[in-house]
Symmetry: C2
Subunit: 179 residues, 2 copies
Amino acid sequence: MSLPHAVLTSLLEKSTSGYDLARRFDKSIGYFWHATHQQIYRELARMEAAGWIEAYVPPDAGNTRKKHYRVLPAGRVELARWAQDSADPMDLRDAFTVKLRADAVLGEVDLVPELQRHLALHEERLAQYRRFEARDFPPGKPLTRGQAIQHMILKKGMLYEQGEIAWGREMVALLSQPA
Amino acid sequence: MSLPHAVLTSLLEKSTSGYDLARRFDKSIGYFWHATHQQIYRELARMEAAGWIEAYVPPDAGNTRKKHYRVLPAGRVELARWAQDSADPMDLRDAFTVKLRADAVLGEVDLVPELQRHLALHEERLAQYRRFEARDFPPGKPLTRGQAIQHMILKKGMLYEQGEIAWGREMVALLSQPA
DNA sequence: TGCTCCATGTAACACGTTACATGATTGC
DNA sequence: GCAATCATGTAACGTGTTACATGGAGCA
């Protein structure tokens, strides 16, 4: 049960509306914790009921219907409590690997086009991470502790994408071989 | 919806009982597609109802209550259909990375012990993968197409664990620095 | 006898996904 | 005026998790 805590973290980084949170979950924090906008609205309602966050109308509201949320002290306490909890590394649920295994046992499945599509997606994401890095962490720039952690998170994402790409290329070569 | 297909794949690799499938999901295929024994029993019941698999009493049953399952032609067809479907790369749900972000914004969270625990788990799993590799894919051994795919899957797991370990060590160094 | 592990399940609930609904605003 | 996008939600359903139930087999 970490979705509320991912939302709390995102709100602490920047107080905002459910809609903008959902969009942020499509990039940034969502690269490490995926969630749909419906999950986010549901969690916001629950957390408001629990007294972890509160809604307010932003001063520059103007003519939108946006409801902004900010984290209350109880929310901070809960987030700190959860962060100190022990939890095992994430379980993988990687459908493509299962498909490869299915191919290994069935034969007659052509996974090359899908693999190449995934490769392109991983390359695109890696390129985006590199742009983030160039923008936020230029070489030589002194970093606060928090920024250094954010940089390491980005590097973790880059490492992951690089691994997927290197492995994917080798896999294309194998699958493209004549049987 | 890939759990039934992961089970089908596992049953094609070896017909067996729900109990043994559950144990296999704790190693082997479970490293890429996690599932609990309750999920597996539920899927077996559904797939039997759908005519994808059938239960039978193994000839050497003896005095156990084990029900073995084997894949029926309809199950093969369904697995091949699913394997050809397009699906995006897996979404991550990595609680530890969220905790790091929480630490970056909150401070005052000590994630070093947890990180070291994870490091030990990743190292152990990598060692296990290496044992699998030495046992199943000794250098120079000629491989069928299916075996070559299985080897690549194992290498993907090794690459992943190596990345986690390298990154984790760098992260320990950062978090251990005096603030 | 009592303990542990084997083996299969039921039930309740929490979480995640998909489809749909509603109305306001912005741009052509 | 119309379409696309903004912004928030409801509802239904499917998947995943946790707790518990049941009874047999092996063994000290």
